[in-house]
């Protein structure tokens, strides 16, 4: 079945989503994910022949002049969890 998700699929999905799932999460979220995917499978019964995927909104691209409009970088840095001068500290990158 394409719509039911076993634990190994759930683990792969979690890894792609950058989430660590505990054993408890795997059980509770796994159940919920499976229930919803089962429900999504009702879409398979719809006849989509001749339908094209659309896109949101109908406005064409609007362009602005290519000039710098500097924002307030200091205000942004104030929200960084750890700073050293104007650098954001992260754990070792090897």
């Amino acid at each position: 079945m394409i719509h039911s998700m076993d634990v190994s699929e759930l683990k792969i999905t979690a890894e792609l989503a950058n989430l660590d799932l505990t054993g408890e999460d795997l059980a509770s979220l796994g159940n919920e994910v499976e229930k919803i995917l089962d429900y999504f499978s009702s879409m398979m019964e719809a006849d989509t022949a001749g339908l094209a995927a659309g896109k949101a909104g109908s406005a064409a691209n609007r362009l602005r002049p290519d000039v710098r409009t500097p924002g307030d970088a200091d205000a942004l840095l104030e929200n960084a969890p750890e700073l050293e001068g104007r650098f954001i500290v992260i754990p070792n990158v090897l």
């Binding site: 660590d20 979220l29 339908l51 909104g57």
Partner: protein
Amino acid sequence: MESPFLRWRNFLSDSAARKKYEDYVKAADAKVGAFLEFDADRGLGLVSDANPGADLAGVPFAVKDIIAVKGFHLTCGSKILENLVSPYTATAVEKLIARGGVMVGKTNLDEFGMGSSTDNSALGKTNNPWDQGRVAGGSSGGSAAAVAAGMAAFALGSDTGGSVRQPAAFCGVYGLKPTYGAVSRYGLVAYASSLDVIGVCARSVEMTRAVFDIIRGQDEKDQSSQAGGSGPAAKNRVIGVLGGNLGLDPAVDRAYRKTMDFYKAQGFELREINLAMAEYYVPVYYTIATAEASANLARYTGVRYGYRPDYAENPEELTRKARSEGFGSEVKLRILLGTYVLRSGFQDQYYQRAHKLREAIRADFDKAFGGAGLILMPVFPTQAFLRGQSGLDQFQQKLADRFTTAANLAGLPAMSFPAAVEDGLPVGMQFMAPAFGEALLFDAIKLYEAQFPCPVPPSYKPEWIEGS
């Protein structure tokens, strides 16, 4: 015509009135829990030109805590953004402040807008002003509850699949979900970008209209925003209604009939419409919304801002821990679903198929609006539900989005209004209109309001709200 803000004008400029108001909010919010942050002084500090003649001079309003206001927190109801302070202000809020409006506080919500109860907030609990044991609805539950209890003149919320209309219905106020693109999303934290729109909660149709007229319009900071113009003219007096068994609770069913009878008596023709795609709204909505959410929420890495774990060996672990410890379970669930439906090998079955069906849903409404000027339908199959076992579980809440998600999928405007009070709780109905037809919604609902004004919750009747 009298300003809809009259009762609230210069409210915060007069010190006696202000004290009375702030004392009231403190006492009322101890029971309701609508606000995550309340600070009228900081709000007054954002008004640069305090012109006492401005439309909104001294009028206190509230903003859902997923919309940026400079100097206030921007938590999205999530532990991952609990300490984030916004360095800028959303366009919609800027426009209100420019008219003298005072942004007094940020309201509670389901984490990142994901939920129908506001119970998915990691940072606070919001009770329904009509019954403290019941939810205020969601995800803009704090905004709707604040307005219902008279703690703000109006409030902004966001509506991705019903998140303004449903809490407005649960709390007995008006809730507008504008046309997609009618209001700039600049400063609205993204959940599902092709569905998200900033909306309005208020206690009167004219106030809703006035706020919408201020916040709408094209914005260079939001590519998807559109001017909209004066919108379509009323084409006829035909209202499309839903037939068949809608699975409504008896109180909601009675309220639907009551509104139909009212409009019939006003000389409208009610015509049953066939929305062939209705059974697909919810699965299509959740497929698209979770797919977009999984991409939008990938930005929370714990590096530049937001929650950071105590310890991590390397940047990858830092990000995984920040997300796993920072997001609540409903958010994780939707990220997982969204990631799954976008995975190679599954994308055709889910995401691409949902997009095709979304086009069919749009076409369905084009057809319906070929005959009817407006569509009238319920907002939610139940009234405000109880917490715990006797309420609705998360899956049942998703299924119950079947009346609200259509407007988001089709990008159309919709507005919920208090249709009745049944068993001591409000019931909301909604009108949908063709794109940019907000004025049609206001005009139609105003007729109803003239006969059935906004109800007042018995325990929250400050003197400044009408009907108290």
